[in-house]
């Protein structure tokens, strides 16, 4: 073939430092606050539900493992069967199913809003590519946004779920339950909720972000508004 001259460009470097990526992602989240709120809302709800169930289980287990006869009796009154010595309390199949569904709905919701967000930002992405952005810069920007949304959303959701579970326990099992609760266990549960929330957020943005990253810069040229 004709014209196969080996390109010999000096320092073919295009970069986007991590700090800058975060800066751009934060800017983008700030200026699309309402959309971010909607995306984050489904995450907050799902994660608060997850945290509520987890923390509730933590509290019940603590009570069951204690020697507080009165509290254990109240457990039975709530219809919770206290396992024999050494037995472990777990989630009921219904609870598992509900939890799974809520998380699934959450991810689908995130995919949906993120796809819309990507469609909205086609011009912006195309322009960035015309200015020299690589596919992975775009991917990274979307992932950082998702992680930030995930962190904020699941921290809020996790805290809300834990607080509701603790208040509920106070009402249902009396104030003696405060002494029985294990703060460490509850914090671990909330932490697991935050990690799960971030993972869900990333999972939800993956496909839309890949779509955005693969977009051709020529899209920016097409005068769509």
């Amino acid at each position: 073939m004709q014209g196969k001259i080996k390109p010999n460009l000096p320092q073919k470097q295009v970069v986007l430092p991590f700090k800058k990526s975060v800066e751009i992602a934060v800017k983008s989240i700030n200026s699309r606050f309402f959309r971010t709120l909607i995306t984050t809302m489904s995450l907050i709800l799902a994660i608060s539900f997850y945290a509520y169930i987890k923390v509730n289980l933590d509290i019940i287990s603590s009570i069951a493992a204690s020697n507080d006869k009165a509290a254990i009796q109240r457990l039975s009154l709530q219809g919770i069967e206290v396992p024999e010595e050494g037995g472990v309390l777990g989630l009921s199949p219904q609870e598992r199913w509900l939890l799974f569904l809520s998380l699934l709905v959450c991810v689908v919701g995130i995919v949906n809003t993120q796809l819309m967000a990507v469609a909205d930002r086609f011009r912006e992405i195309g322009t960035m590519k015309c200015l020299g952005a690589l596919d992975r810069f775009v991917l990274r920007l979307f992932l950082i946004e998702a992680v930030l949304q995930g962190l904020i959303g699941s921290a809020l959701g996790g805290a809300a779920g834990a607080v509701i579970a603790c208040l509920g326990a106070l009402v249902k099992y009396g104030s003696s339950v405060i002494g029985l609760m294990s703060v460490n266990q509850i914090l671990t549960s909330v932490l697991s909720a935050v990690v799960l929330g971030c993972l869900l957020s990333i999972l939800g943005v993956l496909y839309p972000a890949l779509l955005a990253a693969k977009m051709q810069p020529v899209e920016a040229m097409r005068g769509r508004d």
């Binding site: 014209g3 390109p7 470097q13």
Partner: protein, 226 residues
């Protein structure tokens, strides 16, 4: 339904010298935008090649193309395409960030460029606080960010009123003279002809004629009569 292959460009043979101001003219569907995208490395020819400074850009990989877009080519769009979430200055410095320029230097150069297009005082403004003409000025400053050899302007005056369009054209001409940047613009705007060194008329995927500026005044008369 199957895909139909449409041959858009048919045997275009074109050489553009460094520092030249070239306008590509032609009706919609003539292949103007396709030719334009090929020159800018936004589209790859199915056969044939495009050379910029001896480099065949159809042979470049994604990484090298990104580098080319970042350093060698500045793009100006009909729809301005200023990034909405960023201020004027951040828009201008974004290509510098990609090029690995330090923050301080980028800021300084960005302010100089905004000064050049007459928007120094508005560096903190977001796009929605700027008029169309001002946005296009920001876009021109952004296109110049990394001292490109070529500026590709796709209908730069298409969304602007007459006098603002004229100002933008003047600014582009000034830049090509002062900085020696090659300016290639696809346009319908006859005002562009007055400042172009050469006008390339495309029709049906072929070059119909290439006119130098000296010959232009006559053709302009002819267009008026049509």
């Amino acid at each position: 339904m199957g895909k139909t292959i449409v041959q858009v460009l048919k045997g275009i043979d074109l050489e553009i010298r460094a520092g030249e101001y070239v306008s590509i003219m032609g009706p919609s569907g003539s292949g103007k935008t396709t030719l334009f995208n090929m020159i800018g490395g936004l589209d790859k020819p199915s056969s044939g090649s495009v050379f910029i400074d001896e480099i065949d850009i159809s042979q470049l990989d994604a990484y090298e193309l990104a580098w080319l877009r970042c350093r060698k080519i500045g793009y100006i769009f009909q729809t301005f395409n200023i990034i909405q979430v960023m201020t004027a200055l951040e828009n201008v410095t974004l290509p510098m960030v990609f090029a690995g320029v330090s923050d301080d230097e980028a800021r300084e150069r960005g302010m100089d460029l905004l000064d050049l297009v007459g928007l120094k005082k508005r560096f903190l403004h977001k796009p929605f606080e700027l008029s169309g003409g001002q946005q296009q000025r920001v876009a021109i400053a952004r296109a110049l960010a990394n001292d490109p050899a070529i500026i590709l302007a796709d209908e730069p005056t298409g969304n602007l009123d007459l006098s603002t369009g004229e100002e933008i054209i003047k600014l582009l001409k000034l830049l090509s003279q002062e900085k020696g940047v090659t300016i290639i613009s696809a346009t319908h705007d006859l005002k562009m002809l007055n400042v172009s060194d050469r006008v390339i008329w495309i029709s049906d995927g072929k070059i119909e004629k290439i006119e130098k500026r000296e010959e232009l005044s006559i053709s302009l008369g002819q267009i008026g009569e049509k």
